[in-house]
Amino acid sequence: MANLPIEERLLHYFLAMGGQSAEPIPNSPPGLSLLIGPDKTFVAILSNDTFIQRNKILGSILDLSALRSSVHQLYLAAPKLLGTAIDADVFRSHGIGLLLFDDRRIEEIVPPQPTQPPQTTQIVQNTDPAFATELASLKSMYLEMERTISNLREELKTFQQSVPTAPSSPERITAPPMVQTQRQFTGPGAELPSFFTNNPWLEVLSKRGREESGLLAG
């Protein structure tokens, strides 16, 4: 196994975890495209010569970050030799997984944080046929309704033209509506004792001082 190229070793590693090989992702850096369950996963691979290309690690992280919108899980696989030069916190903060490998082993040092890529294109692509039918039906109903309203407008216009002017329109009430200033008692509030229920005195007493004084009172 140690003699195989790292790409194949990584493929076997993910196959062992239940993944499967997938179509390459457009505009992605060199690496592996996989499907682990429903999650699209991409693994960028650094080679040993990265050690002498100082910006290669940072560049790979930026490239992976650019795939966030289309991939659920991102990994960077790097030789163990580079482990001392890599700050794991940078990976954690970007949600990118880190795999370190040598001739014998592949180890997941930082697990990736799955993301939810935008679904817009997927929805359009995977449109449910029943949904499409329903949409078409609604569109048709809307057009029908517009036609009906238009016809009604026409009929109303014709009717208004045919009816002579009204003999005398009723006089509009111009006085403002009466404002109820007295409290109305129809039943007890939730917090009031039970003896308030249907007690006619609530109405009578609420008018005290607002009506002519009772002549019978002594």
Partner: protein
Amino acid sequence: MVTDSYRSHYTFAMDFGTSDFKFGPITCGDAPRVVNNRGYFPDKKSVMYKAFETAPDVIVGEEVPLYLQSNEDLSSRLIYPMRNGVIEKADETAWRVVGALSEYGLSTFTPEPNNGFQGYNVVASLSSVSPRYMYEQLLDTFKQANATGSVRAVTVIPQPFAVAIGHGVTTCVVIESGHGNSQVCPISKYPIRTSQVALNRGGGDANAITSEILKDAGYADLANEEALVRKVKESIGLVPADLDTAILEAKKSPRKFRARHKVPGTRIEIDLEKDSWTRFLIGEYVFNPNHEIFESYFGRGMPRPKDVKMGDTVFRGMLDFGDAIIASVERCPVELQPLLYREILLSGGNFSWTVPEPLEAVAVDAPTKIKLLLRDKGIKNVSVKMTKSPQFSVWHGCIIYGFAVPDEYEWDWQRLEGWMKFSG
């Protein structure tokens, strides 16, 4: 329903009954707090008082029994201010008790600070025969209580008016019968004060004749124990539909009508035996003391209920309840009279009479007795009821009054209604 949030929390009612003081805010629900309407003035010269000098001048509320001293002192130191419904203007000790009870009531329900409390809207109720100076004194008492910020506005209404409100009837005659006297008060949205009739007769008079009956039956040694006499009255006293018939029946079947009362916790048993017919005198005397049979008791020294004048009101001694109702109703406009007879409400402990099942043919309850008295005088289309909650109907009425009457309805000395405001 639009409710006044403030008043639905801070309406406070106080019912100064002859025996009990019922008090509490609207938030008490259906039942207020109850303490005896009394105050105790401890002997400040006593060793006990000097040893524990913390006691106030007058003690009210549940702590009264803890301070009671010798029996000899009780009559002068334990004061029931409303025993007769009316307090004399110069009776300083009685007014001090009323003041102490008011403060006790308010301090028992002190709201939490910083919750918008600006003082209670207090509705107090007094006997309908209370003269004007009682209103003045009571309102002054609350003015003093306002120094602590516990009272925002206060009003005083007559007890029969509160009963009508609590019962939910706007046109009626209320008969309130307490320990010392009874009041007949017509109501038509307002209390019709000029038509009131007051009787100088109450539960205390029923106790008096019970005491005479006990003496005649050989229990003279027990006849002076007021609490015991009251228990005997409640236990054996009956209201006859017709006194002559009831006496006849009881004398014919003394066993069936036998009146016995066992005093709990003692060996004492009172048994009227062949004189058990006298149990009907107790109830009859409350409703109508004019039967000739009572003359023998008056002749032997039992005081005849007299006409007395208290304040501006004459309390009639011998008027029976039927005549009292008719006299009161006939002072009202003619077209109102049939409506008043159609709703007669009985309130107060003096109307709580039971009817043992085997004696239903001759004994009746209070509403039936009133109906019979009115029927004998030609008034037939009447409805007489006991109040729904005899003990608390006055307090209920006060709470409804305080909740419903608008804040801007100011106190009017002519009408004796409205809010006397102290702040806000």
